[in-house]
């Protein structure tokens, strides 16, 4: 232990995607000693894959647009368990954050008057749902995430942010008081394990879509921050809420943006029928993603699916014409040709609902401070720990995220966390140092893998985990299947705890990284499974055959999963926005 090198920072940001880079930028500008620790070079983070845009009431498409309408859509879209103070903060601060991105150089597409181009997306309305479809998603063609991530990386270079690229965070280090005072991390290139000390530790590690066999997520989305926080004993919020994106390319899982439907594309079944007209007569193909995904599965289950096996539907775009496709959706044309062998200007794209986004995560307030509960069930701030982006649950997405709200979440709350940490550092933060036994306990699992001598290997165990999640916790869920899934996961946990890492070498050992990732997938999967089994209602993306209705009397609540005893508790949803009247829960139709 005495030989381990240590590094010290004012703030360490784990994850180099949109949220992490936005937080880092704020802190780098303030002159605080900040580092971004990322397991991939930052522009390889999953934010790069975001396509359609960033939803925000900048009033370019409609000069009368209002952030309150956006807030209404967000709260409704989340099936009323999005926190209204957080939604208010995101939607009202959003324009500032988007204009900042533009000033940093983000190459947004433009309207003729020179303002940022905005397209319609699902679940968007004017005048609190009464004024018809809005066009509120700011876009850089269909490569908005790429443009956003590169812009943020570039501006971090400009502001001399320190990067620990291709470093892997293994576990959080807690002091004797339970504050988070840094992490254990591995330099992937050399295999060196380092103790990173920090007054503020920000988890911005993104999602964990790789718990499912079929996902739009990058291979790196293994929930590393969620795993670390759960192992450190912190609770997770709303982990049963996983978004299945309606349009993943059949077979490949790659994403086809909702922007396709925003630009006028629509879904058809094997009879060529535009079936969304039946399920959502007003919004049709631009209903909430959960609604569209369920409708697609219904079509398939009722025998109207396409293809030989009848197990997908089609997304029709050819009527948009080559010019619109080339100008507004060039990336989709590329992806369709590569992964579906279809030119969307000629033929429809085969699509199927595919795991896309984790609405749950580390509960935080709007400043990114992580929250746990005391013995009486009251919120309590975790010292030293912050989270933002997909890894966090503020919650602005509730039970179902609206398209385009993810990128907004990243920049608004990355920025907010950065600003708050700067203020806290200015006021002075002092935590008890970690003792050597604190550090050793954070070393436990990497030591376990390094000393493993035999057992099952990582790829087969990972496949099994993904199969369990896909089988038991997909678009539709029910008790019996989930009980079985929870049991299989419990058994799998034991096998992973005694699994084997054959390659013990140090230089760029990707097998070791994948082993460490597997532990995190396990944590996320189990939290998801138990939360899904315990939430006995249907709300947003959580849809149960055995409890088909929303149950506001019992479940107008966040779920809170406690890892120590694998228990599911509840936490109040915030219904107290500061500047507007709260939105009363209503039946959610599109």
């Amino acid at each position: 232990m005495s030989t381990m090198r240590s590094l010290s920072f004012d703030a360490i940001i784990i994850g180099g995607g949109g949220a992490g880079l936005r937080a880092a930028l704020e802190l780098a500008k303030s002159g605080k000693k900040t580092a971004v620790l990322s397991k991939v070079f930052p522009t390889r983070s999953h934010t790069v894959s975001a396509q359609g845009g960033i939803t925000c009431a900048i009033a370019a498409a409609d000069p009368d647009d209002d952030w309150r309408w956006h807030m209404y859509d967000t709260v409704k879209g989340g099936d009323y368990i999005a926190d209204q103070d957080a939604s208010e903060y995101m939607c009202s601060e959003g324009p500032k954050a988007v204009f900042e991105l533009e000033h940093m150089g983000l190459p947004f597409s433009r309207f003729d008057n020179g303002r940022i181009y905005q397209r319609p997306f699902g679940g968007q309305s004017k005048d609190f749902g009464k004024g018809g479809q809005a066009a509120r998603t700011c876009a850089a063609a269909d490569r908005t995430g790429h443009a956003l991530l590169h812009t943020l990386y570039q501006n971090n270079l400009k502001n001399n942010t320190t990067f620990l690229n291709e470093w892997y965070a293994v576990d959080l280090v807690k002091n004797a008081n339970g504050d988070v005072v840094g992490c254990i991390a591995m330099d992937i290139e050399t295999g060196e394990v380092v103790h990173v000390k920090s007054k503020a530790t920000v988890i911005a590690t993104g999602g964990a879509g790789r718990i499912f066999a079929s996902t739009t997520n990058a291979l790196i989305n293994t929930g590393d921050g969620i795993g670390m926080a759960l192992r450190a004993g912190f609770p997770m919020q709303d982990m049963e809420m996983w978004q299945f994106h309606p349009t993943g390319i059949y077979g490949a899982g790659t994403l086809v943006t909702e922007g396709c439907r925003g630009e006028g594309g629509y879904l058809i079944n094997k009879d060529g029928e535009r079936f969304m007209e039946r399920y959502a007569p007003n919004a049709k193909d631009l209903a909430g993603r959960d609604v569209v995904a369920r409708s697609m599965v219904m079509e398939i289950l009722e025998g109207r699916g396409c293809g030989e096996k009848g197990d997908h539907v089609f997304l029709k775009l050819d009527h948009l014409g080559e010019e619109v496709l080339g100008k507004r959706l060039p990336g989709i044309v590329e992806l369709s040709k590569t992964f579906a062998h279809v030119d969307p200007a000629q033929d429809p794209i085969p699509v199927v609902p595919t795991c896309h986004y984790m609405m749950g995560g580390i509960p935080t307030n709007v400043h990114g401070q992580a929250i746990m509960q005391d013995a009486e069930g009251n919120d309590q701030i975790v010292g030293g720990l912050f989270a933002c982006g997909e890894a966090a649950c503020v919650s602005v997405h509730g039970a179902n995220r609206l398209g385009g709200n993810s990128l907004l979440d990243l920049v608004v709350f990355g920025r907010a966390a950065g600003m708050f940490i700067e203020g806290a550092l200015n006021e002075g933060i002092e935590y008890l140092d970690a003792s050597s036994s604190d550090v050793e306990s954070a070393m436990k699992r990497i030591t376990r893998w390094n000393e493993s001598e035999s057992g099952e290997t990582v790829p087969e165990l990972k496949r099994e985990l993904q199969d369990i999640m896909q089988t038991s916790f997909g678009v539709f869920r029910e008790e019996k299947n989930m009980v079985e899934g929870v049991e299989r996961l419990d058994q799998l946990r034991g096998r992973i705890a005694s699994a084997y890492l054959p390659d013990k070498s140090n230089a760029f050992n990707t097998a070791r990284v994948e082993a460490l990732e597997l532990d995190n997938l396990m944590e996320v999967a189990e939290a998801t499974a138990i939360a899904a089994l315990e939430r006995k209602e249907s709300r947003g993306a959580h849809s149960r055959y055995d409890y088909p209705d929303r149950d506001d009397a019992n479940w107008l609540k966040h779920s809170l999963y406690f890892p120590a005893d694998k228990r599911l508790g509840k936490r109040d949803v915030n219904f107290a926005p500061k500047t507007v009247d709260m939105f009363e829960p209503k039946v959610r139709t599109y």
Partner: protein, 236 residues
């Protein structure tokens, strides 16, 4: 169905005194897999095989490598595009130091990217809303901003092989022009001044390997030509 014969560049600095090629037989079950899928299958045979990957859809730029002699992204290159006579040879991107197997040290590549100050510079105070830009002005960024920093182009460029310290290389120059072409950037003069020497831009010999390999269909040679024109116009 005979198995695909895959020849992989191997090097582990801890155990190998020199790199070598290792043969794998990969059962594709007759499918036209992507090269990245083949690597996953090979890794199941040898857990120690190292390569980078992330998005697996051609937008993150992690898995640039040399496939049967041509640079490209493994995740969007189907076997039918590269395999000849049932054989596939995979090597790291040429010209950069190898860390392990197919993983190269991208340090020099990133250094040249950073050198061109790859961020918008505008000395005017920012307005309360966005800076306006006409669609025509914005169109000038198409074909430039889409670069994913995969390094396929620069590591296919003989001029970059010879002068990686002094020649910015096609990827860096494409980004340089992305900011020179941006109506919102006011640092044109300073940017050009940084590039005036005989190496930074003028080492480009118009070989166009960069254009041939770019997995995003971008054209660094054309961007370099535009920078040359700007430099020459500036000089007269």
């Amino acid at each position: 169905m005979s198995k695909l014969q895959v020849s992989l560049y191997r090097y582990n600095p801890e155990t190998d005194s020199a790199p070598y090629m290792q043969e794998f037989q990969v059962d594709t079950q007759g499918r036209d897999l992507m090269v990245l899928d083949v690597l996953h299958l090979a890794k199941e045979q040898d857990n120690g095989l190292a390569y980078r990957r992330s998005c697996r859809e051609g937008v993150c730029g992690s898995d640039g490598m040399n496939m049967n002699g041509k640079n490209g992204l493994a995740c969007i290159t189907p076997l039918s595009e590269v395999v000849k006579g049932n054989e596939l040879t995979l090597r790291p991107l040429p010209g950069l130091p190898v860390i392990r197997d197919l993983v190269v040290d991208m340090g020099l590549f990133y250094k040249q990217y950073e050198r061109i100050q790859p961020y918008l510079q505008n000395n005017e105070p920012a307005p309360a809303i966005e800076r306006l830009q006409s669609p025509e002005e914005r169109d000038k960024l198409d074909g430039l901003y889409e670069c994913i920093l995969c390094a396929c182009c620069s590591t296919a460029c003989p001029s970059f092989w010879w002068n990686p310290e002094k020649f910015v290389g096609p990827a860096g120059l494409l980004q340089s022009y992305r900011f020179l072409a941006d109506s919102r950037d006011t640092a044109t003069r300073e940017r050009l001044a940084e590039l005036e020497d005989p190496f930074s831009v003028f080492r480009c010999r118009g070989i166009m390997n960069c254009v041939a390999v770019c997995p995003k269909g971008l054209n660094p040679t054309r961007a370099i030509g535009k920078i040359r024109e700007m430099l020459l116009a500036n000089a007269t």
